[in-house]
């Protein structure tokens, strides 16, 4: 995302607490579908959402211990991306060339960030705020920014102090473009803000932005 003249490759892909140990979830970075998963010991990985065997989405797979397995034929990939087992050939040691394609991922302040492999700048800072929730809008990032003139752009999204549902809130909306004109908002708010009120305020905000987009 290009924001305020600075370029960062990092795109928020969710809140840490929504990706618990042992799960895989779908993600998206610059038009590329991702499988984001956390191993049993907590190692987080972001890979292209495509099994090298026959193209099945890895985000439909399952995590056992320190590996992600594809749901189609059970090929299992370790945290280093290498295929380490092919159930149809239990005695075969898979060639080293078979590997999932990894992107960079990092976590800070309760946010999961993804960037193109080896090309990331510094992580956008969202310190001082607490993760709230993620929600999708049928609107593009630019339309969301335009609907919220009170927030300022920063690398990763929008932030500032706004009145939401009648309450003054420190809000940070990390923006992630999804497919088909949708945008995921990963919202953070001030530690003193009432999370239920902010969540409901965000629902209102979504309705009004989507109405504006439809009009």
């Amino acid at each position: 995302m290009k924001t305020g003249g600075r370029v960062t490759n990092w795109v928020a892909n969710g809140l840490s607490r929504d990706v618990v140990a042992g799960v895989v979830v779908p993600g998206r970075w610059q038009g590329v579908d991702l499988a984001i998963w956390r191993s049993a010991t907590g190692v987080l990985r972001a890979w292209k959402d495509r099994c090298p065997h026959r193209g099945m989405r890895l985000s439909h797979g399952f995590v056992r211990g320190e590996g992600l397995s594809c749901i189609y034929h059970g090929w299992t990939y370790g945290t280093d991306g290498r295929c380490r087992s092919i159930p149809a050939h239990p005695d075969l040691v898979p060639p080293a060339a078979i590997r999932a394609e990894a992107l960079d991922c990092a976590e800070a302040d309760g946010v999961i960030w993804v960037a193109g492999a080896g090309e990331a700048g510094p992580l956008p800072a969202v310190t001082g705020l607490v993760p709230l929730r993620s929600l999708a809008l049928h609107a593009l990032p630019g339309q969301i920014a335009a609907a919220l003139p009170g927030l300022r752009l920063f690398p990763g999204g929008l932030r500032g102090v706004v009145v939401l549902g009648g309450i003054q809130t420190s809000l940070c909306l990390l923006l992630q473009e999804l497919a088909r004109g949708q945008t995921m908002i990963h919202a953070l708010c001030g530690p003193q803000d009432d999370p239920v009120a902010v969540s409901r305020g965000l629902e209102d905000l979504r309705r009004s932005i989507e109405q504006g987009v439809a009009a």
Binding site: V25, P90, L135
Partner: protein, 218 residues
């Protein structure tokens, strides 16, 4: 008698009943109905059992039930917890979600029948209404989680969760993606991890619940 379920394997409503029975350990006698392509449920023999010509139908020996939510109530009887904690507010909330599950069936469920089995439908309208439902569930689960609750009406599953789970989990069959709903994902995972859980086509086994076989063990 063993309760008899007139069943169609691809029906989300029939699955609700099979799932509930499995979770509470009630054995069902399944009678397959040729819903597709035979449309047996619209024929005279089936209509004699259920004039509405809908599935599922549960014959309990004393009753013939034709609404899946009523079947959940019947199955949960004698299994405390599955209908709430006995409080007035829990009882009302369970009813709230049972009624909500009809909205899921009319939106996401219909989109699925359209996309999969060629049912005529206003597909865009079904999907949009389905997305509204999913957003309501997601927002509710967010607030529940803040209060330390994992399920729709409390910290344990009830028939409310079982009534809503199938059409939510099967939404992708009707072209409605579940990518944007982290809360729903965690809730579905909690349901799929319950002891006795059974799957249906479109909802695969949580293979992670079992350890990987030792290499060479086969």
């Amino acid at each position: 008698m063993t309760p008899r379920l007139h069943d169609y394997v691809l029906s989300a409503s029939c699955y609700k009943v099979r799932l509930m029975a499995a979770l509470v350990g009630v054995r069902l006698d399944l009678v397959a109905v040729d819903f597709h392509p035979g449309r047996e449920h619209k024929g005279p023999a089936f209509r004699a059992l259920n004039p509405a010509g809908t599935l599922p139908v549960l014959e309990t020996g004393e009753l013939v039930l034709t609404e899946s939510t009523a079947m959940l109530v019947w199955l949960a009887q004698g299994h405390p917890g599955w209908t709430g904690d006995g409080s007035r507010s829990a009882a009302a909330q369970v009813q709230q979600w049972l009624a909500f599950s009809a909205r899921l069936a009319a939106s996401l469920g219909m989109a699925r029948l359209h996309d999969m089995l060629h049912f005529p439908a206003d597909i865009d309208g079904c999907r949009l209404a389905g997305i509204d439902c999913l957003r309501e569930v997601e927002a509710h689960l967010f607030e529940a989680r803040l209060a330390g609750r994992l399920f729709l009406t409390g910290d344990r599953p009830t028939i409310a969760d079982i009534a809503c789970f199938p059409n939510v989990a099967l939404a992708p069959d009707g072209g409605v993606g579940l990518e944007p709903y982290p809360g729903i994902r965690l809730w579905m995972r909690a349901i799929r991890s319950l002891p006795g859980f059974i799957e249906m086509p479109g909802i695969h086994r949580l293979h992670e619940l079992r350890p990987a076989p030792e290499r060479g063990a086969a």
